[in-house]
């Protein structure tokens, strides 16, 4: 064994030094993140509020103010008072405080992923008054036209959504038809080259409308009174 060269190992780092460094850095990281979170939280919440308000005012034209409600098992409650879960709806009013319409979210699977929209419903004309795409991952240049194609968006300026005589669903299903084949006011004229995305929009409004419009009509007086 005497011929074997002794290899000098570098001095071992004590475990405490490693723990101290990792613990210290993690604590500093936590403090920094919490600090930035606290500073940015009110700004982010304000941004979200403005974004929702802009979207609501866009899908309910002429609106000047809004009130949030939750429509759930407990019935219609102002968002602040709702305990149990439910669907948030945004009632939009004009400058005089008259109810102009109700905005709500809808979602369905598109070509790539789930498409989420906010759309407006006017109980007076029983029609859809506008849509705004909130989230999508549709193909740029094709499917994403659902968000800004003026001809497609025109479909939703007064889309017929009358209730059936029993007031428990829509009189006519909202459906997407091939581009240029729209014959009825409850049909959605698809974008050529974006049929799947167009159908997803019609499907989500139909599904959401079948469920929500009868409920909105049932609570219309409270919505008009502003809660």
């Amino acid at each position: 064994m005497s011929g074997v060269e002794q290899v000098q190992e570098p001095p071992r780092t004590p475990s405490f030094a490693m723990l101290r460094t990792l613990g210290g850095v993690a604590m500093m990281a936590g403090l920094l993140v919490v600090l930035v979170f606290q500073v940015t939280k009110p700004i982010i919440e304000e941004n979200k509020r403005i974004a929702i308000e802009k979207a609501v005012f866009r899908v309910v034209p002429g609106a000047a103010s809004r009130k949030d409600f939750v429509l759930g098992a407990e019935g219609l409650l102002p968002a602040a008072e709702a305990q149990a879960g439910g669907e948030t709806i945004y009632a939009a009013y004009d400058a005089q405080g008259a109810l102009l319409g109700v905005a709500m979210e809808a979602a369905a699977t598109g070509y790539q992923d789930v498409i989420r929209i906010l759309y407006g419903y006017n109980p007076a004309c029983e029609c859809v008054t506008g849509i705004k795409v909130l989230k999508m991952a549709e193909t740029p240049g094709l499917g994403d036209k659902i968000a800004f194609d003026p001809e497609f968006l025109k479909n939703f300026e007064a889309l017929d959504a009358r209730l059936a005589p029993g007031r428990d669903g829509l009189l006519n299903e909202i459906v997407a038809v091939k581009h240029g084949n729209k014959t009825a006011p409850w049909q959605v004229d698809s974008i050529s080259g974006a049929t799947i995305s167009s159908k997803a929009i019609a499907r989500m409004i139909n599904q959401s409308g079948q469920r929500m419009f009868p409920l909105i009509m049932r609570h219309l007086d409270r919505l008009r009174a502003g809660g």
Binding site: A17, L22, M28, L32, T40, I43, I44, N47
Partner: protein
């Protein structure tokens, strides 16, 4: 303790310019290609991603350099990751506070800055061995190089794919957009074209140098 440098570099103009040209993270080192290809479908996204990455790069390099003498070698990568993740989380909140639209456009790629090998590479190869000043200048150069590379891709892709730059119409209404340029393959096409151009320029420079040497001899 971490392997400390044999020699610490002096801050020169080269410390900054290296990242911009000679060691450009995208065009020369081909690092961080995931965000380069994914978010450069518009000029605005390219600028935002470039600035966000530069901030994380500079901030993490500063902290790594400051702590370089107290970070044990065995836990250095874990420590760098914590530091980088902290600044990425900060950028995430700040972008949400600046603009929700921009935040939605960049999607998950903001959080994915943490996995950008340009940043970890700088921490390991440079900031952990150099003084704070040199680390900051080097990180700034690398960040600028990364941002310029993203801009090179973003402007070309937006121009050809939508006929606009920063949303302003450049081509007439008759221009038919090359939709493929906004799609992922467009990222590869444009990156390939830029690499081709840089390689051509490099070879031309070398050829000229050889010719002039030949003429002298």
């Amino acid at each position: 303790m971490s392997a400390l440098p044999n020699r610490e570099e002096k801050i020169t103009l080269d410390t900054f310019l290296r990242g911009l040209w000679e060691e450009n993270p995208v065009f020369v080192m081909l690092l961080g290609l995931c965000p380069v290809l994914a978010v450069t479908n518009s000029t605005m996204n390219a600028i935002a991603m470039g600035l966000a990455t530069t901030f994380v790069l500079v901030a993490s390099s500063t902290l790594v350099s400051l702590l370089r003498r107290v970070i044990p070698k065995q836990v250095r990568i874990a420590t760098y990751i914590i530091i980088i993740a902290t600044f990425v989380t900060i950028v995430d909140y700040v972008i949400q506070a600046i603009s929700l639209d921009l935040y939605n456009a960049l999607g998950a790629f903001i959080q994915l800055i943490v996995a950008n090998c340009v940043i970890l590479g700088r921490a390991e190869a440079y900031a952990s061995k150099q003084r704070v000043g040199a680390s900051v200048v080097n990180a700034l150069g690398m960040g600028a190089g990364f941002t310029v590379a993203l801009l090179c891709l973003g402007t070309v892709r937006e121009l050809l794919g939508a006929g606009t730059i920063l949303g302003f119409q450049i081509f007439s209404a008759n221009f038919e957009p090359w939709v493929v340029m906004i799609l992922p393959p467009g990222g590869f096409f444009v990156l390939g074209a830029w690499l081709l151009l840089f390689e051509y320029l490099k070879q031309r420079k070398e050829r000229k140098l050889l010719d002039s040497e030949g003429a002298i001899s």
